[in-house]
Symmetry: C2
């Protein structure tokens, strides 16, 4: 029946949700600074007209984001939130939708291409030397492939050169997703390599060389080619293949053990 689907229950927004929103608004609109004290829980609950437990469920969310910290007797104090704390917890291939998985993979490529500029602006000789060391330590597998660890270490350093903490954290957060995709979709990646003959993609070594004596534009083009292996994953055709190749076993809640 249509009415079933269209019915506006809006029972989805619970008291806790409303309190959370009110608290955020309150903090935003008062000109609080990090370190400032908030009213204690009893006062807040009374002012909001809810039980302390409800208030605490809302506060728990803000605490997770690092927006508030609390200690007995001292009370609650405001802090600078970590904007990535939420994402960090659920960025796991076992929890995410396949759409998000691919979108994140795609975003990583977007960032790595886009940050070439930052890398060129901010790189120091010491950092380039470090990159070179990392490359020298790498052990090549077949087909110009590196181990996930080597791959990760090199790219991590690139992120660090940007000096952008949010970007650096994103690498840490995204990395497990890449490792997962590389491991679980290797057939698709290999198939693609055979299909295209895998035209010589620049290696990490090549990238360092360009970083030392090339131009930004050359570096960006090389980076794009270096990452090109993953491009086709975002075509609709391959999206469907990934969906088909992936099936998880179901567990009824009754069988679930805690």
């Amino acid at each position: 029946m249509v009415s079933d689907n269209l019915k506006i229950t809006d029972q989805t927004t619970t008291l806790v949700d409303k309190v959370e929103e009110k608290l955020l608004d309150y903090i935003k609109e008062s000109n609080f600074m990090p370190g400032d004290s908030l009213p204690n829980e009893k006062e807040l609950a009374e002012a909001l007209g809810v039980a302390r437990s409800v208030l605490r469920e809302a506060l728990s969310r803000l605490r997770m984001m690092g927006l508030i910290k609390s200690r007995t007797k001292k009370g609650m104090t405001l802090a600078e939130p970590n904007i990535l704390n939420g994402m960090r917890r659920v960025m796991d291939p076992r929890l995410m939708s396949k759409g998000d998985l691919l979108d994140v993979l795609n975003l990583r490529i977007i960032i790595e291409i886009g940050m070439c500029n930052s890398i060129f602006i901010n790189k120091t000789d010491a950092e380039v030397a470090e990159l070179e060391e990392i490359v020298n330590r790498e052990t090549a597998l077949q087909d110009n492939m590196r181990s996930v660890e080597d791959e990760s270490m090199f790219h991590k350093k690139l992120y660090e050169i940007t000096k952008n903490n949010v970007v650096i954290q994103l690498h840490q957060i995204f990395n497990p997703v890449f490792a997962y995709v590389k491991e679980h979709y290797s057939e698709i990646l290999n198939e693609y390599k055979k299909l295209t003959g895998d035209p010589a993609r620049p290696t990490h070594h090549d990238l360092v060389d360009i970083l030392k004596s090339g131009t930004v534009e050359e570096f960006q083009v090389a980076m794009k080619k270096h990452l090109s292996l993953y491009f086709h994953l975002f075509d609709n055709e391959y999206r469907q293949k990934m969906n088909a190749s992936k099936k998880k076993s179901r567990l009824k809640s009754s069988e679930a053990k805690v």
Copy 2:
């Protein structure tokens, strides 16, 4: 005293934190699918050896991320989390550190340069036509500046062309931050324009033209120049200026009204 600062209290990790982590591990390691039922709160609390209130504070966090949904009698069911739900709540200039503010601004530029490739691959004629319409509706202010709204609308469409939902959401989330920076640091931006003579940056109109008849590389270079106005914000010199120019009034918790 040294011992005060070095003391490992670790009283920072509360029971709720541990329960949250256990729940996440439990969900990740069981092969749950979206829609599957979780054990009810009573069972979970008993299995974890904590009070229901503690469990619920942990669950509240997972609910915020969209990982679990619950309805009376039906119980709790697993869902696909929204990886950006946490960030969305605290991405506000009034809550963030200035460091994060600049890092996010920088990340936006990285993404907009990096996504040029995606845009070229995915653009349709209809979308380019839409972009053109948007540009035609724009009303120029002085100095080749557009209103925040016009600026936002054009760039929003660019994000949409990537067809990447995470990227599209990021635009929505980041946008208030840009608007804020544009409004509050206009002196610094203007000063820079005078200093450099503001060498003709490509306009939105120019970008659309390149999108219609240019190459990816040209588009990327133009985009970089289009955004160049903001580059200097990330220099240390300007970072300090921003810090100096920004001061918020403090409120003691006793004066705070709820």
